[in-house]
């Protein structure tokens, strides 16, 4: 038997250790059963912050190392000489035992910079809500308010000896390696929550293509299903239709016996309808069992070659470490290969049916998937709370209701139906709190209620009562806003400003088109010119002996009004879009 294909399970200072014989530089990883899904929305980012603090002492070492915070696991990874690997691992453990708190504020700043560059996935929040696995969809709101004690407590609870697994690939296990970590127990996997009353479900958002995920039993068949799906999507949408440039799939084990299959196809804005239609038909073909043997074999061959590659065992070590932490049985490469070989088209068909039952699809804004049998994911709450009602000062028919149990915003749609967004205090994931008094409530189901005293004319005692009803652990102190929302007169068209399920309000603004950019420049320049004229007249016109004060006021007002009118298109576009 190839010695490189075997993985030995041993122990280092009480920490389970996976070892694979390999030539070349030594590679190692320390993995903990903790991740974003273990956090709460109001403290989101604490794991990532600990990971950063733990790596700080590594400084600018010239060997390769990294850290990664995932939904349920956190990895510290290194590659170098035996000496360097030992230094790295011991350094990480030392840091985790006594976090360099003098770095706290700096690392928070680095996390904020990192976050600005990261695109947050939307599907988890719609599937799981604003808790557990859904938290990967949210910004790391908790980081700002975390104090040293909270961070320390998090590290002591989760980054422990009992909750870690080490893996090493090299000539031998490094000598003299000691890993000193706080004592602690193995943690079970995060609870799988749901924000979807019915599946398959869909939601419309964004301008990209079609994105879908589905939860299926973790198996070789699921992996092959994802591969076959990718080939079919490419064939239908790229080769035949020419609607998409990219069609890709992924199958990621959640380590709880299930895997999440994700599929994506991009779309030109003008071809979104055809991409959606083609996507639905590709899924349907697999659901009725039309699975090409050629596709299956090709995908299987590729999967198998990954298992027979010289570094196959080494590459699998991080995944095995996760399996070990999740309490799953470890399987050899040969066992995995045997499972791959045994998969039939009928097995893949079964996965397709399982995926069809649990699917969640994101379709581009303005499109729907109800025609294809997908139920719209909830974007409002079934009920409003009973309590004191504050009508919006915008006179758009919306109202804020403050009750004993929670808060609601109700809006009236054009057809006269009333929709409510409700966050109950007992199911409140976070309350974003601005110094100007504005509050944003986010329910564990992802529903958002904005409690803006200025918009609804809420009195101070009521705001105080609302603040007192919220558990302090849910409050997120936010920095001052540039512009607190103000009432806009007139009814809102189609009840926009309506309650949204989580993402709608949180989502990035649509990108500005080239035409809109031109419009911004043109109207902006016009507006500036008018403003200059208006300003000149306002300043110098007052002294003009030929003008009465009344005339001066009237003409000034007209000029300023005209400036506003001319500038409005530019302002409007700037507010609705973001730069390319």
């Amino acid at each position: 038997m190839n010695p490189q294909a075997t993985v030995r399970l041993t122990e280092t200072d009480g920490i389970p250790t996976l070892f694979a014989q390999a030539a070349g530089p030594m590679r190692a990883g320390l993995v903990f059963r903790v991740g974003i899904a273990d956090e709460t929305l109001a403290r989101a980012g604490v794991t990532h912050l600990v990971e950063h603090l733990a790596l700080h002492r590594q400084g600018l070492a010239d060997y390769h190392f990294n850290g990664a915070t995932k939904a349920a696991f956190t990895h510290f990874h290194v590659e170098g000489t035996e000496h360097e690997v030992v230094a790295y691992l011991q350094g990480v453990c030392d840091s985790l035992t006594a976090l360099p708190m003098e770095r706290l504020e700096t690392e928070k700043e680095i996390l904020r910079t990192e976050e600005a560059r990261r695109e947050l996935p939307l599907l988890p929040l719609w599937r799981y809500g604003a808790q557990g696995y859904g938290l990967v969809s949210y910004p790391e709101w908790g980081v700002r308010n975390l104090g040293p004690q909270e961070v320390e407590a998090w590290a002591q609870t989760w980054f422990t000896q009992g909750n870690a697994v080490l893996w090493v690939a090299g000539e031998r296990l490094p000598e003299g390696l000691t890993l000193k970590l706080p004592a602690g127990q193995r943690r079970s996997l995060p609870a799988v929550t749901s924000a979807l009353p019915t599946t398959p479900a869909y939601f419309s958002e964004g301008t990209g293509g079609v994105l879908l995920d589905a939860v299926v039993t973790d198996s070789a068949a699921a992996q092959l299903y994802a591969g076959v799906l990718e080939r079919e999507l490419s064939r239908a949408l790229r080769q035949e239709g020419g609607f998409s440039y990219t069609a890709a799939t992924d199958c990621t084990a959640r380590r709880d016996g299930f895997a999440v299959v994700t599929a994506f196809a991009d779309a030109l804005p003008s071809k979104q309808d055809a991409v959606l239609g083609g996507f639905v038909d590709v899924l349907a073909a697999l659901q009725v069992g039309r699975i090409g043997q050629g596709d299956l074999d090709a995908v299987r061959t590729r999967a198998d070659s990954a298992l027979t590659a010289p570094d196959a065992a080494v590459r699998r070590l991080p995944a095995m470490a996760e399996d070990l932490l999740a309490g799953r049985s470890l399987r050899t490469l040969d066992e995995l290969r045997a499972e791959l070989r045994a998969v039939t088209a009928e097995d893949v068909h079964k996965v397709a049916l399982e995926a069809a039952e649990t699917a969640l699809m994101q379709v581009p804004g303005g499109h729907s998937a109800d025609w294809a049998g997908y139920t719209a994911a909830p974007t409002s709450s079934p009920h409003a709370v009973t309590g004191r009602r504050f009508a919006s000062k915008s006179n758009d028919g919306s109202a804020l209701i403050v009750g004993e149990e929670g808060v609601s915003v109700t809006t009236r749609a054009q057809d006269g139906t009333e929709r409510a967004a409700t966050v109950l205090y007992r199911a409140c994931a976070a309350v974003l709190s601005w110094p100007d008094g504005g509050r944003r409530f986010i329910g564990t189901d992802g529903v958002i209620v904005d409690v803006e005293p200025g918009l609804y004319g809420v009195d101070a005692p009521t705001m105080a009562a609302v603040a007192a009803a919220v558990p302090p652990a849910a409050v997120v102190g936010m920095p001052p806003r540039e512009r607190p929302p103000v009432p806009k007169p007139g009814p809102a068209p189609d009840g926009s400003g309506a309650p949204h399920a989580g993402s709608s309000q949180r989502a990035a603004l649509p990108r500005r088109t080239a035409l809109q950019t031109v419009a911004v420049v043109v109207f902006g320049l016009l507006g500036a010119l008018c403003a200059f004229l208006a300003l000149s007249f306002t300043v110098f016109g007052a002294e003009d002996p030929e003008l009465s004060t009344g005339e001066w006021i009237a003409i000034s007002a007209f000029l300023w009004g005209f400036t506003g009118l001319v500038s409005w298109p530019a302002v409007s576009i700037l507010r609705r879009t973001r730069r390319l």
């Binding site: 239709g241 309808d273 239609g277 349907a284 025609w371 294809a372 049998g373």
Partner: protein, 321 residues
Amino acid sequence: MSFTSSASSLPSPDFEVASAFPEAVRLRQDAAAGDWASVRQYVDSLPQGTDRSFATSVLAEIPGVEQSLRELVAADPDDVFALTVLGSREIEAGWEIRTDARAKDVSREQFAAFHAHLREAEKLLIRATALDPSYDAAWAERLNTARGLELGQNEARRRYDRLAAHHPHHFTGQARLLQQLCPKWGGTWQAAHGFAQECLRNAPDGALNGGLVAEAHLEHWADLRTSQERAAYLRQPHVHAELVEAAERSVLHPDFRPAHAYGWVTVQGCFAALFSLIGDRARAAVHFRGLGNLASEYPWSYLGKPADAYVKYRDAALAGG
């Protein structure tokens, strides 16, 4: 009243589809008797390349037929034929609720029920095309659901392309896409006329597809508001020339055979109607003679009460000839 008396000397138009295609009688009888084996045997016996949408439509128009079709689908969820006819029946039921009225005259409740039927149809038809991507009638029905559910121009075109991959000259599919390409369903006249010409150019001699050129002109004419605009549209020399060419390459071509050429009554009718409207009575007469006294709702419903319009233009055309 000599005009009226001369009209009565000719038989009144026959709108019964079975008069042109007697197999419709058999299909209706078999379906009513629940003899689906016989229905299936007939449909399966049609020559390769036959437009099977005709049989589907005849069956889908039978009141109450959905009950036995649902039993067939329950017994065999992979029965492509039953899925397709049941889907077509759902579309039919939906349109009965929606009616042909303009969108602004259709109530919210009517639209909701219409869409519910179309979604039900689409579910069945997605399955049908997934099971057999070469099944022409299912794709042709999915052009109707795409239009009614307003899924978009590209999606309709994608469905047509899937159909055309196996059936490049599918007259029913082409006629349905043509509707989608008209401005009333979100298209443009350029796209509609372009597609009609494309169908004509690619079709074999004597095939019905040239009739789409006439349909496109008829739709364009009907979309114009005033009688002056309509008259001016038809006075354009290229319209007449295109109609002449399309007729000569389709129903007037020596290779044209009416058997199994489902839709030929509509095509002859379109040419007859348009040449009548243009005032080319001689050409109109040729098409009226080709029709005998057969008629279809389309195009005559565009010209008034179908039977009255038919008689009026036919008698005018034949009086001259």
